[in-house]
Amino acid sequence: MIPRLVTGAGYWSPLLWLAFLILFTLIGYLIYSRGNPRYRKDTEQVKPYLSGNVEPSKEKIQVKAGDIYWGLVEALKDYYNVLQAIHTGDLRDYILWYLGVGTIILFLLVGGA
């Protein structure tokens, strides 16, 4: 019996998916193994071409965590300004948020009782 996750709208079979994944990986490997036979590792042919400039050390060109998604964060600057402003780290604010949300929930619940 193949395990199935029935969702009401259809089903998902992880083992079937895995079988296809293995099959496609094999096909991918077959294509890969028939690649360029002249490729030689650790030779000049794999070095990047930088218009004659010296290649900087790998440590210097490492992409830092802060650089990843810089564009996205910059584009959402206004959203993040608000979000970071409310994350004050101040315990008094934590309690105030609790009281505020509690008031709203009480209002919604008692109003509907």
């Binding site: 969702t7 009401g8 965590a65």
Partner: protein
Amino acid sequence: MIEHLPAVMIAIPLFGAFVAPLFKKKQNIAAVWAILITAVTVGLSLLLMYQVRLNGVIVYVFGADRPTLVLPSGYKVPIRIMFEIDGIGAFMAISATLMSFIGALYSYSHVKAESGLEKYYALLLLLEVGILGMVLTGDLFNLFVFLEIAGIAGSALVGFRNYRGEASEAGIKYLIVSAVASLMVLFAVGILYGEYGNLNLAYISKHISFNTLDMIAFGLLFTSFAMKCGSVPMHYWVPDAYTEVPAGINPILLVSTYASLYALFRVSFTLFANISISLARVGWIMSVLGVLTMFIGVTMALVQKDVKRLMSYHAISQTGYMLLGVGVGLTVLHDPKALAEFGKTAMAGGIFHIINHIIYKSLLLMAAGALFYVTGTRNLNEMGGLARKMPITTLCFIVGAAAISGLPPFNGFASKFLIYESSYRLNPLLAVFAMVTSILTLASFVKVFASAFLGPPLEKFEEAKEVPKPMIVAMVILALLCILFGLFPDVVLDKLVYPAVDALIKVAQYQTWGGLA
């Protein structure tokens, strides 16, 4: 002996916690002791689940002539301390004991260099007691007592590395937030006791009249448990606590958070399920909180540079899925057609996500702990090229990251898939938010992977090597669980999740004290 199983579940870790300080001079033995005790509790919780599946709801009465004697002679209402264990209680007990064991195993090496380990392990076991008490009790006041035990033990563990100012600050914040939430729970319990003269959950749920005072008590319980489970916008304490607590405690602290989520579900379904007019409103409040939680959590994670803080925001985000899944079920609880079509599936997704999340988030936080153990920093900007130095940690991290991002065939996908497909039926926007959150989750884990593990090996980590074996074993067990739960989700759903969902839905079964009264 088997009839005393619920009491033994609490007694053994409690005994373990009181004995642990005796190993002050041999802290290795304290660690082994904690591993042993937690391993025994795993076995007991599995036995408990078996008993629940076999006999239905288990009722255990403390101090009675017979542990199943609910009403003392001459009484018409239950007055004793009672444990009442159904499918969801047993499900949570398995989660708690498993994560306590994994946490103790991981801690063996991770905190070896720290002092005061006998207290560390005593607190770990006390935290387990607190969680188990919360999920097994059938009594509102005991729920408060165990909430307090878990809160105090948890805050002491958050502040365990008290030589770090941040740890002490996080510990105090956690303590105060827990205390405020617990006091409000106590206030709500007082209101209900004043009205019905009883603290038994099943009894109150049978007699509750849903007047204004009841609804105030419900509001207080709802908000307090929502804060304790880290729902946005009351989540601010979570990143502080999860970041500073030693990585070995992260799994059990996660379960402690979800014990509050369990309490939220228990109160919403068992105590207040019959408020037919506004139950859909309660469900919508839960669902909206879920969407806010998942989206704000993940967007905050995206900009973090501290690896544990990033993962803590993800923990918040993932709680949103659980709130959404169960919230959808609660919204349609009184609509049999919608409940059968998608409500039950949504709840199954939400509850399945609890155990899935506990597994992969513990794995990820442990991987973060391993990074800290090796590099001495949590700052992702200062890491790089660690994949070759820590191959097993890298592999475990990949499994955890794929699982949390909802990639097939890992366990996170299975529960998220159920939530997407069912929440869509209530409102398509809910599913859209859930899917966008998953994409952002994947994006932020790509960031962690790229900055910590990929890239050229850095000179400063030339001597770095893989973490010790107990840490590896703990991570590998969790990684395997991520894969197994993902490949055979139907088994977990049938054996653990659907009994838990049924326990929440079938209130009448809970109200009859296991068929005794």
